[in-house]
Subunit: 381 residues, 2 copies
Amino acid sequence: MAAEQRTPPRGSGRGQRVTIADIARRAGVTSAAVSLAVNGRPGVSDATRERILEIARELRWEPSPAARALAGAPVLTVGMVLARPAEILGAEAFFGAFVAGLQEVLSREDYSLQMKIVETPEAEIETFRRWFSQRRVDGVVVVDLRLDDARIPALEELGLPALVVGGPGHHGSLPSVYVDDAHATRLLVDHLAELGHTRIARVAGDDVFLHTHQRDRTFAARCEELGLECLNQPAGFGASGAEVATAELLSREEPPSALLFDSDEMALAGCHVLEQAGLAVPADVAVASYEDSPLARGHRPPITAIGRSATEYGRVAADRLLEVIAARRERRETGGAGEPETRALIPELIVRGSTAPQLDGATGPSEEGPERPATRSSRTA
Amino acid sequence: MAAEQRTPPRGSGRGQRVTIADIARRAGVTSAAVSLAVNGRPGVSDATRERILEIARELRWEPSPAARALAGAPVLTVGMVLARPAEILGAEAFFGAFVAGLQEVLSREDYSLQMKIVETPEAEIETFRRWFSQRRVDGVVVVDLRLDDARIPALEELGLPALVVGGPGHHGSLPSVYVDDAHATRLLVDHLAELGHTRIARVAGDDVFLHTHQRDRTFAARCEELGLECLNQPAGFGASGAEVATAELLSREEPPSALLFDSDEMALAGCHVLEQAGLAVPADVAVASYEDSPLARGHRPPITAIGRSATEYGRVAADRLLEVIAARRERRETGGAGEPETRALIPELIVRGSTAPQLDGATGPSEEGPERPATRSSRTA
DNA sequence: ACCTGTGGCTAAAGCGCTATAGTAACTCGT
DNA sequence: ACGAGTTACTATAGCGCTTTAGCCACAGGT
């Protein structure tokens, strides 16, 4: 019983931390054996391992992340940095939902998400650099992909595991997930064409982003394939840009009969302009959005949109990133290179009142409750 | 030059990490001296300190958070756990904006935010416990305050610095920030009363939350003071609850002429019910919300709401929490107790079309762009 | 001259864990 | 019966930092 003299503290929260040394003492082995046991590594007999695990459980031992990190183990954290004004998280529904999806799977895997908001893309790279050199994260997710994004080569050089959100195509050696914007564009254009629209305009978002370009291109291409007249109207950022662009489009000699907006926020802004101009949606002008959200659902008429389920998007991104991190760790042991894999989410079209066939438009025929989307919104390919 | 043989690697990212030992060697002192110098502690002369800092800068040294944490220094991370479905982050605009505010000041102070989504309040406490025993966070922010919230005593027992978001009143020994819901209620009720409404109903949110109770009480009290008839209609959670509750209110013999909703999401749901019932807002029924958001601004008519600026709320919360953490560290050195301080945000009323005096209601008279609130929305008291 | 400070630093002991070299005991094959 | 090969551990050296005790030189007071 003399060995019990220094029994580790239990129960009440304030006690000393219990360490592997405590477990080792109780189990009559060294801390090294405990480490092997709790990490599922070979080197201890099954019997001993079981005994050690039992004691660990009993003592309510929790590994110290700091100690692990210091000794070279993964830190169970992934990072994401946003080079945008903080408000974006609240203003653009996409981000909140995306982060929710990330959190969901990360939490489940005992990972945590570290976020940082910075001013410029350069600061973003600097943050990656610091996170890496401080070993603060095991990997990062890269959002708001730009053309010739400087972050890609920077991350490759650092050798920090990263998952690119956006596409399509390969980003250097980095794996990615993306929503197939070409497909989304076709869905939208085809839908409007079927309704009989022949002059379709697109109010495009900020063209520093890669997905904007992708949409630009496929929009023009699809319109041409279908023999439609297409107008691509760059609108810069946010609601005010969309208002100006919409007004601009309406002032044309032959204004379009259908408007395609790059985001829900922009679509609403556009609707307000239409309203003020005395034009009814969808009777006079049809409206559709690349981005679904409660905003789009809640508007009257509810807005036809691409349901890419930002939450699902976040989940998939997190899944992929964890795979990449795991693979990296494997690889360090084996040595294979591994191809950067790209995974696409297939967008679906959710038809709502804003593109209803010409009825009356007051409350569209495909009216629905704000919580129930018309179709499953996305799926992994 | 022999001493230079082991010169620390610079430039290209892949090199070995530079540690205080490297700096010490270059400066001709021990690592202890470097530690003192970089942490601004007494024990080195100003000249030496300057020299050490210079070298650190030159070598681009970054402290290792893991090593620091292991040695007992703060980990520069604060935690927040949400016992809600992940979707809430996207669905309720408040959260996105609140987190944005938190991030903003935390990032600036070089802190990071760790978030976790769990199923139950018990799991939340368990998470706090683990974060504490793993020394993963320096402090936490507690949201979604409930009646007799079990997290308060749990955190007090742990001795983990915490900041409670919600109030009013003290929560054990924990400091808090809150939005003055009593004041908000008076603003709303008074506003509706001034417009001539005498039968006001409130569609109340989930009553496990403390702020719901606070609103319940002050709503009843203020109505009585003004001699108004008040109806308090509990509606449970989210949009569907609000729909049911609104329908219920409309089916009364003498339906209310003004509706007060606990959130933007609920207000919109309520508006849809009104619309379907053929009632115009604000001509037939006035609508106001306790919660502002792009949703409320984007609706037609735009909805009168309490602007508590969730982002600002987040900023204040982060500020306070950092103060608490700093104070805690001081106190460990001195020994004072320190009063739990409470800070209130004064809400302001943003009048919009949904409570316009009886004109036509199609587009309210206090119409505004979606980005420009009518008044500054909140302020620290 | 002698003790007492005191500023400025060093030496060294951790923090809790992982990783690796080493060892003791226990098979085998021949 | 002997070296080789396993298996199951132990001992120990870090990881990069903080912190405390201790040391030395030099200042001042008496």
